[in-house]
């Protein structure tokens, strides 16, 4: 139980923390110095932390305190705490908004379909890359597959617009058609997800490839001697090695299911594909930045964040109950 909680807060690196807690206790005993003296000895380290802590307080924690404007009618002149209290008004207004159901549905569907399609691909890809024996080819494949990750979403969306253009767009040229895909709401999810896979599937391999690099080569040799085919080696050696990392990643992904990125949706949204492209993140931006409805936008954003955190906790619990896998 305790383990679950810690893995939620700090999924990967906590092992070090636990050990270090024991370690620091041991150190304190060994040195036998009082706390005050140890703090003084480390003043330079605290000095290093000063700016990062200050920036985090100002730009992360004060905005958290400012979330209360979701329950107030924010007036810039009065500030976060003095504006008029309105309780749940903004939330009720959001739930009654004509596009509320559509936005929730679109946000969840883009995420769920996105997860279903884009989650397995890096796993399969890395299993294949890992088994390829030609080092040079392997490196070229990795370099090329990583490349799109380093390109700005703006350029990616520019490419999408140009490739999908009804006249002279690459896809229409190849298909011999003249379809304006970006005006078709039924095509939006496919465009969003496929381009996401194109951009990040290769990048997603890194963590799996790094895990697979830990496999003892002797295991493969032994399996070969026993007559195991490549497919059997992947199934019996590589897959079990990857499983804990896969589950960990799945938890993180499931926790972010309400987090449909703003940038790509906003850039690709047209009036005609709104039926499927209207998502919460874009709404938060439009209401908040474009229309300056600060309180309302904050309430919508808070609603989204809370659902995300609840999801993360649920998924984390379910996953650790359903398997014996230890999350680090």
């Amino acid at each position: 139980m305790k383990k679950n909680q810690t893995s939620l807060m700090d999924p990967v690196p906590l092992a070090g923390d636990r050990i270090s807690a024991a370690g620091s206790a041991a150190l304190a005993q060994r040195h036998g110095k009082p706390m005050g003296q140890r703090i003084l000895e480390n003043w330079q380290l605290y000095a290093l932390l000063f700016i990062p802590v200050a920036l985090t307080v100002i730009y992360k924690y004060i905005p958290m305190y400012g979330i209360q404007i979701a329950f107030r009618d924010f007036d810039p002149a009065l500030g976060f705490t003095a504006s008029r209290w309105v309780g749940w008004d903004w939330f009720t207004r959001f739930f009654k908004a004509p596009t509320f159901g559509r936005m929730i549905k679109n946000t969840i569907l883009i995420s769920v379909y996105g997860l279903l399609w884009s989650f397995p691909i890096p796993i399969v890809l890395s299993l294949i890359i890992n088994q390829v024996r030609f080092a040079k080819f392997k490196r070229i494949v990795q370099t090329v597959l990583y490349a799109p990750h380093f390109i700005s979403v703006m350029v990616i969306c520019g490419m999408i617009k140009i490739f999908l253009s009804p006249t002279g767009g690459l896809l229409n040229l190849l298909l011999g058609t003249q379809i304006d895909f970006l005006t078709q709401s039924e095509a939006f999810r496919t465009i969003y997800i496929a381009s996401g896979i194109w951009q990040d599937a290769g990048w997603g391999c890194i963590i799996y490839l790094a895990t697979l690099a830990n496999v003892d080569p002797g295991l493969y040799e032994a399996a070969k001697v026993d007559g195991a085919s490549v497919f059997q080696r992947i199934l019996n050696i590589d897959v079990p090695e990857l499983l804990p990392m896969v589950i960990l990643n799945l938890i993180m992904a499931a926790g972010g299911i309400m987090n449909v990125g703003f940038e790509k949706v906003w850039l690709l949204q047209t009036d005609l594909n709104k039926a499927t492209s209207d998502v919460i993140a874009v709404y938060v931006y439009q209401q908040g930045i474009e229309q300056a409805k600060y309180s309302y936008s904050t309430a919508v954003g808070l609603f989204n964040t809370v659902i995300n955190i609840v999801l993360l906790i649920i998924v984390n619990k379910v996953a650790s109950k359903a398997s014996d896998v230890e999350f680090v």
Binding site: K60, V153, V230
Partner: protein, 300 residues
């Protein structure tokens, strides 16, 4: 007898599976590389030929007019220079932030270390959201100021944990102790022992930060208020414009058609100009990526 047969069988199937694996990856390679290649070709071809589908494999009527126009466009040039400036300053800022946060937190005997770690990690899971953050940025007077791109980001906590774990696991503790026994202060040890020993992770983190700042436009869009736009934000005006007008006039002769033609060409060229710097940079640190990721994961 049986054993040899088995061995032969394995040998055969290994060759077959080699071919299959390589073939699958070759297909992936083409799928990923071709769109980029196509943009590159289109950027040096005649836009009418691109429309007509004559540039699938090779450029048609090779021309550098598009690039000439891109580098003559004052908006694009200033966007490019702004991006270079933000990327250099932002990368230095981010890496320094990561290092000065990760190093103290990597000291196992630092009093309060756990609490301070939690203080940072909490911000990974919960935040004020778009508007409250915007209002604080506004209140601190950063709207329209370059520093609004860097300061509100503060410390990249995920990357900070990776760097911290690297300090803990990959830097020999004996060396740090030896330098402190030799009379170096904690700060001096950090500068002259720890930093030089952490070059691989420094390189990876610098490239990550570089890419993030080079490609960012959203922060610039909401905080800069239209002043000093970086390249991707300038591109938004160019790329997101509908090309319908260009298509309608594509058949016409004369100045207007020529102008549209250039607009289309500039789209391809400006995308190349925006993408190429990062595509050149990352292969240099590629061999450290796996290390960089694993430093954040299990060890000890």
């Amino acid at each position: 007898m049986n054993a040899t047969a088995k061995k032969n069988h394995t040998g055969m199937s290994d060759k077959v599976s080699d071919v299959i694996l390589v073939a699958i990856l070759a297909v992936c390679l083409v799928i990923v590389a071709y769109p980029l290649y196509y943009v590159l070709i289109a950027s040096v071809s005649d836009p009418y030929d691109v429309y007509a589908g004559k540039t699938f494999l090779l450029p048609s009527q090779f021309t550098l007019d598009g690039y000439k126009a891109v580098f003559a466009d004052p908006d694009i040039v200033s966007g490019f220079l702004n991006s270079v400036k933000y990327t250099i300053i932002g990368t230095c800022f981010s890496v320094i932030m990561l290092y000065i946060t990760a190093y103290p937190l990597a000291q196992k005997d630092l009093p309060g270390r756990k609490f301070i770690s939690l203080f940072f990690v909490f911000t990974m899971y919960f935040g004020g959201g778009l508007i409250p953050t915007y209002l604080v940025v506004q209140k601190t007077g950063l709207i329209g100021n370059m520093w609004s791109l860097f300061l509100p980001g503060g410390v990249g906590v995920g990357n900070m944990i990776v760097v911290r774990n690297y300090f803990q696991n990959s830097i020999p503790h004996d060396l740090v102790e030896a330098s402190e026994i030799d009379g170096c202060s904690k700060f001096r040890t950090f500068i002259s022992v720890v930093i030089p020993l952490s070059m691989p992770i420094l390189a990876v983190q610098a490239v990550f930060a570089m890419v993030a700042y080079w490609n960012d436009w959203f922060t610039a869009m909401i905080y800069l208020g239209g002043k000093g736009s970086p390249l991707p934000l300038v591109l938004r005006g160019i790329l997101m414009k509908s090309s319908a007008a260009a298509e309608q006039t594509a058949m016409l002769d004369g100045g207007y058609a020529a102008l549209q033609k250039q607009t289309e060409l500039i789209k391809f060229c400006s995308m190349i100009v925006a993408a190429v710097p990062m595509l050149i940079a990352y292969p240099y640190v590629q061999k450290y990526f796996e290390k960089g990721f694993m430093a954040g994961a299990v060890k000890g």
